[in-house]
């Protein structure tokens, strides 16, 4: 009996209509994601909105669109609070550290990824170990190192210290990428009479473009936004502050200039947003490439 039922069910195969069509499902998913997105970007929108309000208006809870938009905050931030100068400090630190980090990590990654030498595993282990040491613990020794180098009070010192942030991750990214390149490429270059350094520069480096872009973007974000390290290094010399530290200065002992702070913050994030808009395709390719290899 049961067997009969089973066989008849098999022969009369029923096509079940879905409750919701794929199209409707897409709409629902999109709506949900849009809601999450709104929550996600609310703080950012609030910040931009507050930068166009007076301190009083910010606390008047009048909604996101300012009733009487003011631009004073931006002028005050740029001129009085030195954000203009800080902007160029940050630019210097960022560009310098990105250049240093990209070249140094690519070279380290190349050697670690492609050359077999004694102690290679040990170096890898040491590098990975440093990733587990929180930044806060190393700030004092880093500061001391800079002082000993005579860079404790200079923008060069800030730049040099900033290169350390994600150095290890980038080295590992490059090492992973280079280790998967076919040996024949290097051998072909060897047969062509091209030396080790020039093989790196003319053959391997151009092929690692996805990783280079990833490193540039990630290091830019890190250097631009880093707070703790520049705070410590620039403590004694306000003239070499970076933006993130400069924004913090709007918080006085008794009074917080919210309008000025949000305006300065908005100025701070504009370059990063622009950079991402231009490079997002490469950035995503690079990350995908780093995972896929």
């Amino acid at each position: 009996m049961a067997l009969e039922a089973a066989s008849s069910a098999a022969s009369e195969y029923v096509i079940r209509q879905p409750l919701i069509t794929p199209r409707v499902r897409r709409w629902i998913v999109s709506a949900l994601l849009a809601a999450v997105c709104c929550i996600w970007i609310y703080p950012l929108v609030w910040m931009v909105s507050a930068s166009f309000k007076t301190n009083a208006a910010i606390f008047a809870s009048e909604g996101l669109i300012p009733s009487q938009p003011v631009f004073d905050n931006y002028l005050r931030a740029w001129n009085e609070a030195n954000i203009g100068a800080y902007f160029f400090n940050t630019l210097f630190v960022t560009v310098g550290s990105v250049l240093l980090v990209t070249i140094a990590t690519a070279m380290m990654g190349y050697v670690l990824g492609r050359r077999k030498f004694l102690g290679r595993g040990f170096i890898f282990g040491l590098l990975v170990f440093t990733m587990f040491v929180p930044q806060g613990y190393t700030i004092i020794p880093v500061f001391e190192l800079l002082s000993m180098l005579g860079l404790g009070q200079s923008l060069w010192g800030v730049m040099l210290a900033t290169t350390g942030g994600s150095f290890v991750i980038f080295v590992l990214l490059f090492a992973g990428y280079f280790s998967q390149m076919p040996d024949e490429l290097e051998e072909a270059a060897k047969m062509d009479g091209v030396g080790f350094v020039r093989t790196f520069w003319y053959v391997m480096l151009p092929l690692s473009k996805p990783i280079i872009v990833t490193v540039i973007v990630m290091q830019t974000l890190y250097a631009w936004n880093d707070f703790l390290l520049p705070l410590v290094v620039t403590l004694a010399n306000p003239a070499i502050r970076t933006l993130s530290v400069g924004v913090y200065a709007f918080k006085g002992e008794n009074f917080v200039d919210w309008g000025g702070m949000t305006a300065a913050s908005t100025i701070t994030i504009v370059p990063v947003v622009v950079l991402f808009l231009f490079l997002q395709r490469y950035f995503i390719d690079g990350l995908a490439g780093a995972v896929k290899g």
Binding site: E184, E187, D192, G193, V194, Y202, L207
Partner: protein, 358 residues
Amino acid sequence: MPGLSLKGVTKAYGATKVIHGVDIEIDKGEFCVFVGPSGCGKSTLLRMIAGLEEISGGDVFINDHRVNEVDPSHRGVAMVFQTYALYPHMSVEQNMGFGLRMNGRPKAEVAKRVEDAAKILQIEELLDRKPRQLSGGQRQRVAIGRAIVRDPQVFLFDEPLSNLDAELRVATRLEIAKLHRQLGGATMIYVTHDQVEAMTLATKIVVLRKGIVEQVGAPMEPYSNPANLFVAGFIGSPKMNLIDVTPGAGGALQFKDGRSLTTSGDAHNVATVGVRADQLRSAPVESAALTGEVSVVERLGDAEFVYVRTGWGQEIVVRFEGGTDTPVGSTVGFDLSGRTHFFDAGGVAIKGLAVASS
């Protein structure tokens, strides 16, 4: 005059020896093919000549100069890799001229040599393309072009056709043969596991097994006079039939089913008889030297390969003319007519012995 000679060359990775003392002389202008099953050390040997692998023992001479410690780019050799190894981010032109440019040759000279090589290989219209825009065959040409541009004394090919499809492989094989003629005095060394490639291209064949040279000779030499059982079984398609025999009195050799064969000489140390598919002739079952039941028939058009299962369960292959249509399951008999090969218990060929005509 030897273009290249290997003298007692060995290679070891730690304690594992992979090349056991190889001696080969290759004359200028020769097309020498290293052939052997995978893992026989043929590619390692080639890479040692190229300078990509260190030489553990023995000497390599190119044009009478010892090159053991010479940098790959100064040996006067150029290599074509199995995977082509083109630089993906450079155009064809840049790929071909890269080595010359890096070594400081004047631009005009680089351009001229690239152009000349492109003309030989008929890839002039591809010069601006990137490798990914090329087909497998075109990439192969570019890789060869990169070698030609360097104007080497010795070309090294490492299984250059194995990444191409069957049809293209035959076409490219022909082109490489033509190229050898066109380039006049260039010595070429070519590594392959495909014995057809070896026999069609070579002016000298080196058969390798497990790091040992089994036989060196003219292209037909290993086919018509295999030095041992390995070469006999490896060269030729279909494989040579190798049948175990027991020597009897008066030059007789007995098969496992009791049937026998008479030879014209002293056959007391023969352990194996080798006969190719085209050297067996149909004979009446009662008097035939070999009999068996047809198990499979492969029809190739101009020929038919008939697989016959003998009384002792060995499958031997026989070539018939196309259209013979031998029925599967029928019992057939053969005589060993034509060339038959004899090997002793150690697998070494015995010379000067033939099947006595009855």
